[in-house]
Symmetry: C2
DNA sequence: TAGATTGTTAATCGATTAACAATC
DNA sequence: TAGATTGTTAATCGATTAACAATC
């Protein structure tokens, strides 16, 4: 059975489906049609059915989708049925904030350690973790079976640290540093470039303003 | 002159161009061709030229693009030549982390205030700001000409707070709460859904693993 | 069974890439 | 001028939407 490649556009929509289905489930909704879900989520029913059918049919003709079942299945597709072991590399404000974020644990993302190069931070408690020096990281990654490294450190050191972590066996990097990491083909990188996001926001403010300007005759 | 709508796909790439051009500029590179830039950024030269031409030609045939000029122009397109006034709403770990992030200021995003509902935080210093109670927010937004609200608060209160802020005149929301905000057409929302990002990461780990499994005969 | 709604194929739309004439 | 490289049109590719037969 050949596995057809699922586009990242589809993958990018799965977490949102998952969230809406979770809410419906919590509200006690048992079944939902693509039509109803489309109204709720403001996407086309067609897209919903196409998206789900990438993974085989989850619905039933004449009935729709069972909310609980669909929720579970999308969770499995996203890998939320298995645990991941994370370390945070860089215990600055952002690193500490992520360590304190409870919600990841609920989805199976377990924060196992937090590291920093800065001696002043060593030994500091961050939620249930203690900031460790970078020298301890190799042993820790290998012994604790760490999957995912969260990079919350300055861009200057990100590439070098990423290379090391990959050598130690990490499989994925959640990258908050503002660089494009070069990694081997088998390593996953997910970027969160906050300043890029803020720049998009800024562009869209300007755009809406000039649109409004056009209506009121301020321009053109 | 009709303004053709620029697709969000293009806008989403601008910050990355901006970053690379900034680095080239700092390295003292004066000119660059779409071909050279394409090798550096790992995208097609065709896409680069198409993207830039959405905004009118920035290059010169036979020469390429002037790095400094192109950098400036993209900055302008992104609205980085004008200042934005931000407030952070929700002074938890993430809110404080963002307040401490120096790099936004450099691009004209000025953090003007930070607010929280939690009395225990009121008066706390976060970088150059002091956490204020939510009751002060209306006056502050109006008097300080605040453009952008950064929502770093629990999803339960996000919608309600967003509605208020919009009434007070905010133009854009940088939303870290895990909900889809309903806002009037003229208000800009840029979402940063961290858990969605982590779920995508998780999916891609599974995918790469099953790919590798296929090669090594572990599966299928 | 009749009605509802999926799963899936076909049509459309938009984004990316290729090609090349214009021009510096 | 000749060579280089853009700006732009045309071709391709992929993603979204529409339509409808299958089927619960």
């Amino acid at each position: 059975m050949e596995e057809k490649e699922i586009s990242q556009a589809v993958i990018g929509r799965l977490p949102r489906y998952f969230r809406y289905l979770g809410e419906l489930k919590d509200e006690g909704v048992e079944r939902i049609s693509s039509q109803e879900l489309s109204e709720l989520m403001q996407v086309t029913a067609s897209q919903i059915r196409q998206d789900f059918n990438n993974f085989g049919g989850f619905g039933q003709q004449g009935y729709g989708y069972n909310v609980e079942y669909l929720y579970q299945e999308i969770g499995k597709i996203l890998g939320l049925d298995s645990e991941h072991h994370l370390i945070i590399v860089g215990a600055g404000n952002l690193g500490q904030a992520l360590a304190n974020y409870m919600n990841f644990e609920r989805r199976g993302f377990l924060m196992k350690g937090i590291f920093d190069i800065n001696r002043a931070l060593h030994g500091k408690k961050v939620r249930n973790l203690t900031v460790q020096p970078m020298e301890k990281i190799e042993q820790f990654v290998k012994e604790q079976n760490i999957d995912i490294a969260v990079l919350t450190l300055p861009k200057a050191s990100a590439e070098e640290v990423a290379d090391k972590l990959i050598r130690y066996g990490i499989k994925a990097i959640w990258n908050f540093a503002h660089v494009d990491l070069k990694v081997p083909e088998e390593v996953v990188v997910e970027n969160v470039h906050l300043s890029d996001s803020l720049m998009k926001l800024s562009y869209n403010i300007n755009r809406k303003q000039s649109e409004r300007g056009a209506y009121s005759g301020k321009k053109g």
